[in-house]
Point group: D5
Chain length 152, copies 10
């Protein structure tokens, strides 16, 4: 089904204002002092906005601060905007990478770090664009705290 | 169900030899001239071995080259070793990152590159370990060719 | 569930105008300079419209260019209009072809091209009608760039 | 799960003989007088072998004709070798094409032919390789009889 | 979920008019010159109406012909009104018959006709009522063209 | 997955004997005094054999009566040989008929019989072959007792 | 998802009137001359109302008979109000009983009655409350006609 | 898939002995002092055997007590022998009763007992056969302790 | 899909009032005399409110008692607000604990208590916050009555 | 399906030795210096054994240390022994607690700790038995580090 009904009301407020102001995530991110992916996640209701974020978004996007505070209050109910497996090819490719390399990642992580996980919470991520003679390359970095299993 | 029945016969040959020889993926990767994740993927039947890879693996792991050639012949039937959603927490965290940030990634990728996908085929990946005062951090890099949709 | 709620607002705008103008995809495709399947995909929100496409569609279909620009802005969220397995028999037959011949296609593709995939992005497709004494035949052509797996 | 347990016993007989004889599907197809995809489908238990096919396969592949007759007797139980959605990227791309363009295909087919389906039974398919300055292209053709819905 | 949202707008138009006119499918079928099951399928958006059908339905059911033409225009998106497995016991029993006797049907069909399918497109069906001392019996007849697999 | 592991041991006994004796379901059915579909269902473990059936099958198929009695003892665990939706095209077409016409059947059955179901237990079915100038037609008849809902 | 959208319009009419009138299913059942479970099923759109039921419900619940006749006309589309497995613990326990004892029930039923089923159509059910020193006990009785499989 | 692989080793021991001794569940139940359904559940690995049960079963069925003790040791892993929804019609009818009447049961239970559940653990069940002029009737009784939700 | 449509109308009434009054679950719980988790469950429609709860909530939250009585009347339809597996990481971690330790819990529970279950109905739960030099720790306690299986 | 095929070879080694030695998890846990649940998890292949654990288990259970080292080498592939939703009632009740109280837990956790998760990795758990006049109570404690989402 369409994406819209899965999103919180803040999403349409933010996306419409961004479109009207003709702003990129890059520009917003720079202003807010967060990464582009974090800002996009915030737009999709997948990340939390601090009071300062709300202030800055309100200013840049010309949205009354009261409305934004009210719509962005509460803790995000994460994961709601995507059904797995993803149908959109751009998102599917990321899913496919986990499906194909999942156990290879686990094997190398265990070898390098021991028994544990790479946190997806104490975590940051970013996208970079690289260009060479063969064309453009997207580089996505995932960086998370290593959490060893507690022995009990 | 258990992982074992999903793997091709080459997997147990390779894993057993690696264990007997007490070798790390890092050491094998250096010898073979490939990345650790690629080598682990090869062990799980998720990547293809070149004739040179087979030669080197045969030597390092003391596996008859004929056996390895026979077991690694044919094109990998990728994706077979992982059922989604992953149950193992280490692999699940990667799945969760796609689930939570999937549309944010798409939005930023589209903004930076236009309409298309980051290839998971013309693609490489690696894992790095970083340590600071807060502890260890895993850094996973995904790097893929940007493919714009063909207009037709 | 019904198709309508899965489609973006642009879909009803376009389909209604097409019906009112009594135009075929063939006619629209000729005017826009794209293939019929691409135009139909665009109507279902599965392909992106260039600024020129929007201009031409606006003219042919008598839709204000502003409305069309607004409704077709943003990158398509592909795959949203079809739940798999397809229930409609016309679409199911295509699914069945993949289900029945999937591994045969892979085997022949690997034999002819090596380890890789036929791109569905750097890709075009068309439908032709052929008639002989036995009746009508539909011929669907899929043509995609061959992408070899990167060795890493 | 692994592909092997889904295949009929004839599959391992045929694949092993093909490997030992070092024959391509192309060569076998030429000899048998069928298309490469059909021959590969036959290897995967997805197509039926005629008595002549069995004779020729027996000769080319040095398999006793009795064994082949016995293993290939009975009607194929089609569709058994692939779980949908496909996990292997090469097969997934074909699935994705149906998912993304399914309704576009239906719309154009209906426009060109009326209410009905393209048969997947009264059907043939082939793969061609094309090369230009941009690289290699795979071209897959699907050709099926158009079946109009009976009015009753 | 309820049936209503899965049906096209024509369904409520037709069902409401049928109820108001207090007509049976039998009576409508006789007038339209089609089978009762076909007429019911048309009401559920599962079969296509010819221009003559629309004329006759418009007259019998007192629906403006323009409205009916508009609502019934376009090709049916079949299969949308039923989620499988069916929950309603009347429909489930038919599903159960396929589940229990599916391979028995295939075995007998193959024995009688060879390798192929009974078409569900070049197809008609009807329901008859029979009464004997034991009570009432429903007899459903499925009649489809036999389509042999094309050798290619 | 393959059909074989879903079948009771009696299935391979019966199918192998049938093949060796080169008998059709038609011939067996005539001898046993049951319908071909019932006999095929019995082969697939989907119908129960009476002591007389066992006697006759033992004779015709040259299977020791003790073995057959032992393998066919116990009540069938029906439905086990088919996963829904069916993947084999021959069986899928029957599933599709239920999917497409399910509610139309229910509507006509209710109109003709009231609130109830057509029994799939107090039920018989048969397949007939008809040939006309257009080719061969398969006719499947389903006949079940009408069971009205008890008022309580 | 919430229960409400799965229910027919009659459900809210009936439940609201019951609440306003402060009536129990027991009281309504006594008046209508049906069992409490049947009346509750009728409220959820899972059982059919006879003309007399409608008369009595209309009187007891102060609902215009026309409205009730219109909303309860048509045959129930059973099973629509519950997704399986049930999430509500009260309903889940019943599901669990079938899951845990399903084959034990079948084994004992077959032993006592032969090859067949207990009808869920020619069927009635009731709930009784029993109290002893250990507390309250719910007793649910399911009573259905035994239907032997037809030999054909 | 077939039932056998889901059952613990004790199941085949018990069923084979029962068949050899030609004993009914009724006879075994009388001897063991438990209900027939409980005994059948024990055979399917769905109920626990007390030391006395093991003694009596060993005697009646001529199974060495050591073997039985060993095979029946440990706590049952309940629910393993049935996949939901059930495919066998005899078991499906019980599932259908829960699907159709689930919310009606809940509504009447809540009305009679308040907020809580009927326990499926502090629970017993039995099957009775009743015969009248219309034929045979199966009567299944479910009796469970009522557990009110704790207020906390 | 978003959480909102799964919740009963009482949820938005309660959450909005809580936000307006700027009250914590802790404060409400203290006033109502229930645990914080129970109060939050009540807000999500997962627990029942006693008449006294309604009185106190009405006062604290300034909601007309009639409205609250009406919205909270009826027995909760539990489980409706969460689809499993949970997508939100905070909830997923609890699911993961059950997935990873489920059989270990069962083994230890059986060893300590015998054959039975820990009730989720005669049950209470609470969350505590603990802080030490390593940071904050959440402690969740689940406490349920042990119910042994009835021997029958 | 049965639990056994999901477990690693170490599981049967450990469980059989435990049974032969007639040891409880409590006794083993005391000796090994870990919690009972952790030890049970280790038996099911859900937790990692340290070299000291292996030494102690080898001694207590009379298993050659080489065999245990070999079977317990490698990092656990967690989650493999349980399919969700759990079918066994003892495990299901824990699942139900998450299903019913999941969002209530999240709401209270967020209120007490802010935006983050309770770790299931930096985590311990235990089971206690409490007895009062009403009977036995199981108390399960879950204790995990609170991880706030990183702002990026």
């Amino acid at each position: 089904t369409s994406l819209a009904p899965r999103l919180p009301p803040s999403s349409s407020t933010l996306f419409e204002a961004k479109k009207k102001k003709n702003l990129t995530f890059e520009a917003i991110a720079q202003q807010v002092g967060r990464d582009e992916v974090a800002v996009a996640a915030l737009f999709y209701g997948q990340a939390m906005a601090s009071p300062e974020d709300i202030q800055k978004l309100s200013q840049m996007l010309d949205i009354p601060v009261d409305q934004l505070e009210s719509e962005l209050s509460g803790y995000p109910d994460r994961g709601r905007c995507l059904d797995m497996p993803p149908k959109d090819p751009t998102v599917y490719r990321l899913f496919e990478i986990v499906q194909n390399y999942g156990y290879a990642y686990k094997a190398v992580l265990n070898e390098k770090f021991g028994d544990g996980i790479m946190s997806a919470i104490s975590f940051s991520t970013k996208i970079e664009k690289e260009t060479d003679e063969k064309g453009d390359w997207a580089k996505i970095t995932l960086r998370g705290k290593w959490l060893p299993y507690t022995r009990f």
